[in-house]
Symmetry: C2
Subunit: 365 residues, 2 copies
């Protein structure tokens, strides 16, 4: 190993970083508030012009009757599922084995709401119509995550989505969308957010993925359901006296970046093609369907790390700060395209990946 | 009635307003972030220098092993009570009938945590030692709110507090402090926050009361309990990717105002004396024990409102935007002293209250 630098340090100091919009720094907030009128009144426990106007804007964008701003998606989604369970008188829902609720929320849905969960599909593939048809227990709600982040951001065909939606409506199963990355899939589906959301009874979207805000989420659906969600928001401790630091920054970065989703999607496709041309490297999906994908490398993390450190040092290009071990002698990381990519000189990027390809070929894989 | 202006409108347009620090406007955030280094990194899901340093600062101030920043007191307190119930294997707690958890949280404690509550004392008085001694059911935790906001911000004597604390420790009852206004009571008790907190097993404090921040709360206690609270924070949806808008503004306004609690307390005493000299007006407590008190007027709200509108228009002094009907032909409102009071010309204030006294004397009460 030429250098004792860790991958995380090399990445942090890289001249260019491939993914994301930029570091999560305080200036993200400062920029969003620089031109806001200081005399504007705070929202006040869920009321006031600041929150009302953004909620209405998002309800319109998503084609739903109403929308409610939440501090987090964790809170918004648990609440959506709880409401559907209460409506159906049945505390059971189904989702993917790698759903955010299952792996990142310390079992809040079970611990706080006593909701039983059925894990549909295998970990490494999307939920299909046949999985839903094959359910042998009744459920109040099915949650679909589009794109399925933990498997690289995969998507079903739009036709399959329509078929699943129709099946659920027929059976009285409520359909909830984990749309943390909803805006990022509109270029692939060639549909508006509202068109996609029309297949679902409730929808959550996030403002710190492709939008690049600080934090915050919107839950959207019918007015009566959204009114119920406000009661649960209070119960969860999310009905803050002022949520405007998240609301106004979400609105600012939404306006900044909503028009760039096609660009991020195309950049993801371009970069994935470059990576797939490298020996021992493949992306998942092979052709990205959003701004994100996973990069799988058929070599142990301990062997890949020094290569990526060298690449960063010699070419100034940081591609990842970490490597996750995957099954077999291999590793992987996630890439999400954002504002940074367009600032990378293409010749440097291509030279770096050409070098990486040569180094990978020297490894006995 | 001389004017058709509502009290809320007259108050909003008043040249001087008696209570509070100022309107809750966006400039509160802008001021707090004006001099923060934009290159400072965001906290990241509860980790990082920004959150660690403030949590440590507050743990030190409160004399506890550890502290955890929460988006809200609603979330922090439910979680504290849940942890104590889990530790004791008993899902029952006791608090005042007008505790925040009982009247402002949509029963989150019961709906999310299935915790049974015993309401101690009558609505219109503080919890006493004998109430705790008289409990005929076991409880895991007793919550005391200091000062008791909904009855004007009353306080027990420090000796009674010590006796209740000793009694709880003897019986294995955990004692939790709702210290939303903890800093505001230190001048009356002549104790440090840490001295008061030493009587309690867990403590919650707020940053948008006397401190005047945007939102946010700290829960403090033993390290193991605080580690547990982080798991519940994640479950509640409060473990945001970045809480820094609240953390840094809380820290800023804490530093700005922590030295002014004695001043606010003295101002409350001064103003309460002026009000108690008015015919038909009395404050609760008669002599304030913090920066807050309630103002009770022995006249129907419909008759008081035009008087206060006139007072605001003639003297430029706004005292309240609302009047709550109370039992009998009377009404009341709350006052909390903050930065605004010192900007009011004393002659104007005294002239306004002299006029109000005269008008009240003309009423047949």
């Amino acid at each position: 190993m030429e250098s004792s630098l860790t991958l995380a340090t090399a990445f942090q100091d890289a001249e260019y970083i491939i993914g994301g919009h930029g570091s999560r720094k305080i200036k993200v907030l400062q920029e969003a508030f620089m031109h806001v009128d200081g005399e504007l009144a705070s929202d006040h426990y869920g009321n006031g012009a600041v929150i009302d106007s953004f909620q209405q804007q998002m309800a319109d964008v998503l084609g739903k009757e109403a929308a409610v701003f939440f501090p987090s998606g964790t809170m918004a989604q648990q609440i959506a599922l709880r409401i559907w369970c209460d409506h159906q008188g049945l505390k059971r829902v189904a989702y993917h084995p790698l759903a955010h609720l299952e792996i990142h929320e310390e079992d809040g849905l079970k611990e706080l709401h006593q909701i039983e969960t059925i894990l549909l599909a295998d970990k490494d593939r999307l939920i299909r119509l046949e999985d839903v048809q094959g359910l042998d227990q009744e459920i109040a709600c099915l949650l679909l995550e589009l794109p399925q982040r933990e498997i690289g951001g995969q998507l079903p065909s739009y036709e399959e989505l329509e078929t699943i939606s129709a099946y659920c409506r027929e059976r009285g199963i409520k359909l909830h969308l984990d749309g943390a990355r909803l805006f990022e899939i509109t270029p692939y589906y060639q549909k508006t957010p509202a068109e996609i959301c029309s297949l679902f009874d409730s929808v959550y979207i996030s403002f710190y993925k492709g939008i690049g805000g600080i934090a915050g989420a919107i839950l959207a659906g019918d007015t009566d359901v959204m009114e119920e969600s406000k009661v649960w928001k209070r119960r969860h401790g999310g009905d803050l006296i002022g949520l405007y630091p998240y609301i106004l920054s979400s609105q600012y970065y939404y306006n900044e970046r909503i028009g760039k989703m096609q660009l991020y999607y195309e950049q993801a496709q371009e970069l994935a093609a470059l990576l797939n041309a490298c020996h021992g490297i493949r992306t998942l999906p092979e052709v990205p369907v959003s701004n994100m994908f996973h990069v799988h490398i058929a070599l142990a993390a301990s062997e890949v790390e020094p290569l990526l450190v060298q690449m960063t040092q010699h070419y100034g290009i940081g591609i990842t700060s970490y490597l996750n071990k995957t099954s077999g002698n291999s590793c992987a990381f996630e890439l999400s395209m954002g504002d940074r990519y367009e600032h990378i000189p293409q010749d440097k990027l291509r030279a770096a990946l050409t070098w990486l390809n040569e180094e990978m070929q020297k490894q006995s894989i």
